[in-house]
């Protein structure tokens, strides 16, 4: 990472740690660009077998952000939350761009490789999911965050429970119902 963006990220992280919510918003594009830059670097052919590597790279960068003990944060939930949000942005943007490229709109191919997102292999339309998730959040903000943390953030049920400050049993129950709701939303989307 360039020294500039590194300094910038640090400043934002520190501000956010002190409770400045605007810093969080500013942080997302900066870190996002950084993750993309990394992915591009890998995809420039520095490695022969780049497909999985880029996934691994972004994954690891993310894990590094998320898994660190960060006691200076006022609230661990904020941190996990922003990281999960970040991944959602990256993946959904990626999916949108691919969609645009497929339609021949001439959009530049985004750095991240399809291998990155098993969701697509599993037949999940990330763009549709993103829309549905936004609607779910409007309906039930805790469920929205829960899905974001679990699916985009990769947190386990236990970890999600810690972040949301509820019991694992509650997470499981909320998870099942939110999932059913999203499944139905996506089905409807497919049919239109």
């Amino acid at each position: 990472m360039g020294a500039d963006s590194s300094t910038r990220i640090n400043k934002l992280l520190a501000d956010w740690g002190q409770g400045n919510e605007a810093a969080r918003e500013a942080l997302i594009p900066v870190v996002y660009n950084e993750l993309r830059r990394q992915a591009r670097r890998y995809l420039r052919g520095e490695r022969p077998d780049h497909t999985l590597e880029s996934a691994a790279l972004v994954n690891e960068a993310y894990m590094r952000l998320v898994r660190q003990e960060a006691p200076a944060w006022q609230n661990r939930a904020h941190f996990f939350g922003v990281a999960a949000q970040l991944m959602r942005h990256i993946l959904v943007d990626h999916a949108r761009n691919r969609l645009a490229a497929k339609r021949g709109a001439g959009a530049p191919r985004l750095a991240l490789d399809p291998e990155l997102a098993p969701a697509q292999k599993a037949g999940i339309d990330l763009v549709a999911l993103d829309d549905a998730l936004s609607r779910l959040t409007a309906l039930d903000s805790q469920q929205g965050r829960l899905i974001e943390l679990r699916f985009f953030g990769g947190l386990s049920i236990e970890e999600t429970a810690v972040v949301l400050g509820v019991s694992p049993a509650t997470v499981k129950r909320e998870w099942v119902t939110a999932r059913a709701w999203l499944r139905r939303e996506l089905k409807r989307y497919e049919q239109t």
Partner: protein, 755 residues
């Protein structure tokens, strides 16, 4: 709409919790309103359609292993945890039928061959550590593209979950502190630095044993940050995101400077502080504030945060937390020594009580009244290194330097100082310069009797640029002369206890009492030492020093024929094994193990363990000499004789038998004149081997009168020697050398009974 969803959700959750066959009845009961029922039913249908994997697998693959799957010969049972170092699983080793922990390495590490190679090297060193307070690394493996470490599975809790708000009980802090310091000492001896010591990396097993995790493994992860990639060094360090665990980082770590083992000592200090106070010594609302606190703030005194904190423990923690590495304890062993001092002070309440327990040793700061800065530095360095050196002898109780410093310029009666410190033995020294000569005087005083136990004067040419060399030359000599099991202190301690009723000795006293055997090698002393140690081990079955000494005593049944019971070498080996298991960094334990293996003719293991014993404590002249001649007799004459020479240099007052290795080396080469010269220097009349050496050398040289005289003296001590010679010689020397010795005896006039 939101309220409606809450209502729907409640019914839906209730329905989904029930078996499909029961849902219909449940909905009949819950849904008065048909629209609600329709809504819930459509969601149940969606739930049924969704495969269980829907959204369950994260958008980003986490490379998690599936529970129940196989990885090589391991079956993955459950996920234990995750971390920057990779995910950890509990697994069953199907080959060996045991449970292990498996740590999957992160892809970025695995994909870089150079880093992977370095990591493997680190892992190999770690695997060789084998310490009861360090989680054992079993193997480094690869299966199906997954690289992983297998480790000892620890059933217990990590320390960060065990520290209550008000801190841990003092004796528990001390136990944990000693265990972690022992682990650090063992690792640092091998050049392995932990680099990420924190409560989350310390496990306490369900039996209460302490195990430190992830030794040195942070290194390769760390390297990655210093390289070009995403998270470069300084900035992220400040932000507190990357370098693992900033609250426990040392100032040099947090500012990105070079780190050595003393960084671990700082981290240990932060952990001990947290254990004592229930809160960390350095805090900040942001990462930058935290970094600033580590670099600049002095932690609040523990005494203010917690009543009843022992002063000694506070001082130990404070010393660990010095910003400047030079001002911390320099080694983990020094920490141990400090902890032991504070433990006893705590347990006994006062230094007066410490004196009662007995046999504490204090090294006062050496005295120098001149103005030369180099000499002043040497003066300080000498006493400090002597303390460190003495601390390597597990059976000595050395008072921490932090307690003795206040006597730096105290003019006063040594006996009074000793009483104040609770030290029975006090070492003091002085440095004086006269022209180009530096005179260093060191003496050891028994404050009980006021008698001087030992004093030595070293005159050396003084060159300012060579003070470190001088320090390195003098410290091992001083330490070896007073501290090894045959040294001034153990001899004095052993003698002081000889008059006491053996039944009344504490285990520690029984150990010290057994050292007297080294000075009176006879059956009576042997029996007393053995009985005392066996009794001590009934009371203190985990005393490694006692097991090691008992091993020596059992082995002596075989070597000297004293008080023989069945299978002395086997018992010696078993006792030594026990000692090594209890204290894998105890040099006496390895000494005992090697010495027993010599007689078991396990040449390779013997040599490995002998070298290990010597490297664990190179200042032990007795160990070096004894294993030196065993190594020589096992066939490596060059190495063995070199070790014996070193032992002789360590202690000019060494026992004569140190030289036997040179005698047999010359004799086997046919240099009988040279051999005789050595034999004449041994000067141990009354020891059968002296007369054997003289008889065989004179015999080979044809000096018949002297040879016969030597044979007479040999037979006076060992009347059975004509009968026993072959067996006796065969214990120590190979058949060829044994026959040559028998030939020498024949020429001296003693016919040995044929095989």
């Amino acid at each position: 709409m939101q309220e409606r969803w809450q209502e729907v959700k409640k019914v839906l959750a209730g329905a989904l919790e029930r078996a499909p066959s029961e849902r219909h009845a449940f909905l009949d009961q819950e849904c008065a309103e048909p629209a609600l029922r329709l809504e819930v039913e459509s969601l149940i249908a969606a739930h049924e359609q969704a495969q269980t994997s829907f959204l369950a697998e994260p958008a980003i693959p986490t490379k998690e292993l599936t529970i129940g799957s196989s990885l090589g010969s391991y079956e993955i049972l459950s996920r234990i945890g995750a971390g920057g170092m990779g995910d950890v699983y509990r697994a069953n080793d199907n080959k060996l039928g045991r449970s292990v922990a498996i740590k999957v390495l992160p892809p970025a590490l695995v994909d870089d061959p150079a880093r992977l190679a370095r990591f493997k090297h680190e892992a190999r060193m770690l695997a060789a550590l084998n310490h009861p307070n360090i989680v054992t690394l079993h193997s480094f493996e690869e299966a199906g593209g997954v690289h992983f470490l297998t480790m000892e599975l620890i059933e217990g809790h990590s320390l960060n979950r065990l520290i209550p708000n008000g801190g841990l009980p003092i004796d528990q802090i001390l136990n944990f502190a000693v265990a972690i310091s022992e682990a650090l000492a063992a690792a640092h001896d091998k050049g392995i630095i932990h680099r990420d010591l924190k409560p989350a990396n310390v496990m306490v097993t369900n039996e209460g044993r302490v195990k430190v995790l992830d030794f040195g493994l942070a290194k390769e992860i760390r390297t990655e940050y210093s390289e070009d990639t995403i998270l470069t060094s300084a900035g992220f360090t400040e932000a507190g995101v990357v370098l693992g665990t900033p609250p426990y980082c040392s100032p040099e770590q947090i500012s990105g400077r070079a780190v050595d083992h003393r960084s671990d000592i700082f981290s240990l200090g932060t952990m001990l502080y947290e254990m004592a106070a229930g809160q960390r010594p350095f805090q900040g609302n942001s990462a930058a504030e935290l970094a600033s606190a580590i670099l600049r703030d002095t932690p609040r005194p523990l005494g203010e945060l917690r009543a009843g904190m022992p002063d000694g423990l506070c001082r130990v923690i404070q010393r660990c937390l010095q910003k400047n590495a030079e001002e911390r304890f320099q080694t983990a062993r020094e920490v141990l020594s400090g902890l032991r001092g504070s433990a006893t002070a705590k347990a006994e309440g006062s230094s007066a009580a410490r004196a009662e327990e007995g046999f504490w040793v204090a090294v006062l700061p050496f005295e120098y009244r001149g103005a030369n800065a180099e000499i002043a530095a040497l003066c300080e360095g000498l006493s400090e290194d002597i303390v460190t050196g003495l601390s390597r002898f597990s059976y000595l109780r050395v008072i921490a330097r932090s307690s003795t410093l206040r006597f730096a310029h105290a003019a006063g009666d040594v006996r009074a100082i000793g009483r104040e410190l609770g030290a029975r033995y006090v070492m003091e020294g002085s440095l004086r310069q006269a022209g180009s000569i530096l005179r260093i005087t060191v003496q050891l005083v028994d404050t009980d009797s006021g008698s001087h136990l030992w004093a030595e004067t070293y005159d050396r040419a003084f060159h300012a640029e060579e003070i470190f060399a001088l320090q390195d030359e003098l410290v091992p000599r001083i330490v070896a002369t007073v501290a090894d099991t045959r040294g001034v202190l153990p001899r004095t301690m052993g003698e002081a206890l000889r008059g006491r009723d053996p039944e009344e000795l504490t285990p520690y006293e029984a150990l010290l009492r057994s050292f007297a055997y080294h000075h009176r090698v006879n059956a009576e002393e042997h029996a007393a030492a053995r009985a005392g140690l066996e009794r001590a081990l009934k009371r203190a079955p985990n005393n490694a020093d006692c097991w090691a000494m008992l091993s020596h005593i059992y082995r002596e049944e075989y070597a000297h024929g004293f008080n023989v019971r069945p299978d002395p070498v086997g018992r010696a080996f078993a006792a030594a094994r026990r000692a090594v298991e209890i204290a894998p960094s105890n040099h006496l334990a390895y000494f005992a193990l090697a010495a027993a293996q010599f007689f078991q003719r396990e040449v390779q293991s013997f040599r490995n363990n002998a070298e290990r014993a010597i490297s664990l404590n190179p200042m032990d002249g007795f160990t070096t000499a004894f294993l030196g001649f065993q190594i020589a007799y096992s066939g490596d004459w060059e190495r063995g004789c070199a070790l014996v020479e070193r032992a002789i240099r360590l202690n000019p007052h060494h026992p004569g038998w140190y030289r036997f290795a040179f005698f047999f080396d010359a004799y086997r080469k046919g240099d009988y004149r040279g051999a005789l010269d050595v034999a004449l220097k041994v000067n141990m009349p009354g020891f059968w081997r002296t007369h054997l050496a003289l008889a065989t050398a004179y015999g080979q040289l044809g000096e018949r009168d002297a040879a016969r005289q030597a044979v007479r003296e040999l037979l006076a001590i060992r009347p059975d020697f004509a009968m026993a010679a072959r067996e006796e010689l065969g214990k120590w020397w190979d058949p060829e050398l044994s026959e040559r010795l028998i030939d020498g005896l024949r020429k001296a006039g003693l016919e040995i009974v044929p095989k």
